[in-house]
Amino acid sequence: MNTQTADIGAELRVYIADDEAPARARLKELLGDIRGELASVVVGESGNGLEVIERLPESGAQVLLLDIQMPGMGGIELARHLGALENAPAIVFVTAHDRHAVEAFELNALDYLMKPVRAERLAAALKKAAAAGPVPRERLEGAAAGAREFFSVAERNRILLVPVAEVLFLKAELKYVTLRTKAGEHLIEEPLVSIEREFAERFVRVHRNCLVARSAIRGFERVAGGGDEEPHWSVVLDGLQERLPVSRRQWPSVKAVLPDAKGG
């Protein structure tokens, strides 16, 4: 038996995510077959994306074998959220046939396997991924086909997902961005500029430090000013008392993208 493994004695902790039970069974079988070359232990398996987000962090997985077509959440978005973990796993994508995804993987140097998976390829991909560690964020962003459905908030060793559709506004403060939903607030570590780019259709910039969901805007209010505050417009939001100032620079474009909203 060949005993030259990457970490002598240590087993690679693998998590399997695929919505088809036979596909998961097959991967487990193959992991058994390559045991001589690469010792591994399956620390968890899931059939849908949201469950992976919930369970993977506490499994201590080092590598995730991730089918890109799963119910709940697409593979690339899932990988992006997992990247927020302190001990983010390395990821090997698995696909049966998806020309667009494969092109994106190639273009962004992401590791992937084609189904049916061969034992040798699996061993090689796992070794490479384990050595390389988590996938850099930019590469995943590059491979994404569209905007995410969730923002992710990393809390120590778990991930909280906030549906993008629930976010009323985002405000940048120092190095964090605050997400405001009807229910509360969350801090995320993403630059406002890249959020603005990714969700151009959903959010509009009203101020240097603030994006507002177009659908949440009920109208505008003129603030008289006083003291050292200049008179300005502010946004009135659905279901929130808080008013958000519109900067003089943003006012023309804010007004233009919301032709129905009335100043008042």
Binding site: D19, E20, A21, P22, A23, A25, R26, E29, G47, N48, L50, Q69, P71, G72, A96, H97, D98, M114, K115, P116, V117
Partner: protein, 335 residues
Amino acid sequence: MASIRQNPSPDVLPDFRNLGVVARALVIVNLLALAAAFIAQPDAGRMLETAVLGAALLEPPLLASLALLYAIAPLLRRLAYWPACALIVALALAFAAATHAALGKVTEVGLARMLAYAAACAVLVLAYLTLHLRAYSPALAEARLQALQARIRPHFLFNSLNAVLALVRSDPRRAERTLEDLADLFRALMSDGRSLVRLADEISLIERYAAIEQLRLGERLRMSWDLDQAPMDALLPPLVLQPLLENAVYHGVEPGAGIGDVLVRIERRDDRVHALIENPWRKPGQGGRAGNHMALDNIRERLMLFFDAEARLESHIDGGRYRVEIDIPYRAGRA
């Protein structure tokens, strides 16, 4: 008639039991009559009068001819092209003569002119219908049918092979059965698609397909079959139902984490065959997959090539369910 165009080169008679053929004949003859009336009486007021009188003479032999042709369509099919054409023209002439005998006194049209009109109409309609058939056949329609041949998603092939691999060690017998199902499915997919098949064969094909999907998706796919009233001897183009079921699984079941109910119902309603395939509707973007209606357009066009205006394919969303319905004429046969 197991194939739509089984004689590739010589001209074939139109099918006088086909609604499209009958409608075309009616329209052509009436247009010809209008044109004749216009030429005879360019004056608008008198032209109308001429047209009405013409119609009185025209419609009885026309309708009688079409009715008789409908009745003797199976007999006509056994005749060669030219004798059949001669028979049709003779029929038209006989009906015209009879009509003239009954109504000729009312109008000033002579028997010779009446017969000349009838012969001209019969020849023109036959010529048009033959040309129309030629435009769709043989080579063109066959090429079109081959191009339209249903294609299975590669996604399905590779996932199925993967599922079989997972069975080889744990359940070799089920692996064997699944490979046999796959082989049958691909044999059907690679057949030339120009011959009609029996509904019984098409149903056994989609049952095999469903068995493979069941293996992959397990309890997430819940199939219901309602086939008690299905006319197993009905003829239909091959691979009309399988792509619809494939769509139902791909769009309705796979993107969901929960259970997806898919219903297949096929029944005979008088002289029609009605098929319904139903699956959960998922909005694209909210777990649903974007579709481009390629499969539906493709099937619709194939149905048209086989049944002309007599086939219908419709899809609609209703109460969270996506439904596709097909309605074709019932024709029994042993393919």
